[in-house]
Amino acid sequence: MKKKTKLALFIACVCITAVGTVIWFVWNKPHRSVEKEKGIKVTAEQLVIDYELSDSVANSKYLDKAIAVSGKVAATAVNQDGQNTVTLQSASLLSSVYCTLKKGQPVPAAGNTVSIKGICTGKLSDVVIIDAIVEQ
């Protein structure tokens, strides 16, 4: 009887530890990393056209997806939290592609053509890309 109780206690302990470990790993899983994702290739012009045509259709295609946007750098800046931002030119006068770079990324010079890969969070005035890396 005593042996059985001991065994039951042991099994219970193992189970609790296992469940605890799994919960800990799920809870503390790392953030998504855009470097490891392939990314949908699109030009800044096309991305803005798609969003100007239909927000909802474009969102189904791009929202929360990793996308690699190529285009000409119109401007660069530093935001309120010290993150670097890059605006990619489009054919539209009203909208561009506004990218916020990850820390440590090289900032391309205005006028250069680059490809920036990041996560699309939809369109406000501009199409917004965040957590981005500079590919070339």
């Binding site: 799920v26 809870w27 503390n28 899983k29 790392p30 953030h31 998504r32 969102n59 929202l63 929360d64 800046a77 935001n79 309120q80 939290d81 993150q83 931002t85 506004y98 916020t100 996560i119 969070t121 939809g122 406000l124 005035s125 501009d126 917004v128 965040i130 957590d131």
Partner: protein
């Protein structure tokens, strides 16, 4: 669509009346905070799109998926279980300053202000009145505000850790205009 019209309206008003000026930013900041028993919930959005016109009109827009949490699981729950951000990707506020006469955009200073308008979160629109400050410093404008949002007002229910989060969250707005 409504927002686009509002922005266009702002733009038109700017060109027709020389006295009006529009300040804008695409990198404003909105933070929210909620105390929870296990871990405080805190997230920041650094891509807040805002326009402020000297006639008192004010617009804020942000993408819900742009909120960044320290904890990735929390970020996932926030998007999937609470905000349903694929269905409702944006939050928008459009309103007007009610004490415009008290603000001199040409004179440096910090002005207390009150704004009334419509706040849309999670697909629910609600009339709100929010207090804040407008700071003018050598021609640069910044807006700050802190207010509480009741989750039930916007039909926000959490299905996973539903009971554990506060019924109200604190929202902090900090926008420096170009």
């Amino acid at each position: 669509m409504k927002k686009t019209l509002l922005i266009l309206l702002l733009a038109v008003m700017c060109t027709t009346s020389q006295a009006q000026k529009i300040f804008q930013t695409k990198s404003g900041k909105v933070k929210f905070f909620s105390s929870a028993p296990l871990e405080n919930i805190e997230a920041v959005n650094n891509q807040v799109d805002s326009k402020l016109a000297t006639n008192g009109q004010l617009v804020f827009m942000l993408g819900i998926k742009g909120f960044r949490f320290e904890n990735a699981t929390m970020q996932e729950h926030f998007n999937e279980n609470y905000m349903e951000s694929t269905k409702y990707p944006k939050a928008v506020f459009g309103g007007t300053i009610t004490n415009l006469a008290a603000i001199n955009f040409d004179k440096d200073g910090t002005y207390n202000t009150s704004v009334t308008g419509e706040l849309e979160i999670h697909g629910v629109k609600k009339k709100v009145s929010i207090d804040g400050t407008i700071e003018i410093k050598s021609g640069k404008v910044s807006v700050k505000s802190k207010f509480n949002i009741k989750l039930s007002d916007y039909n926000i229910k959490g299905s996973l850790i539903g009971e554990k989060i506060a019924k109200e969250v604190e929202v902090t707005v900090d926008c420096k205009y170009d």
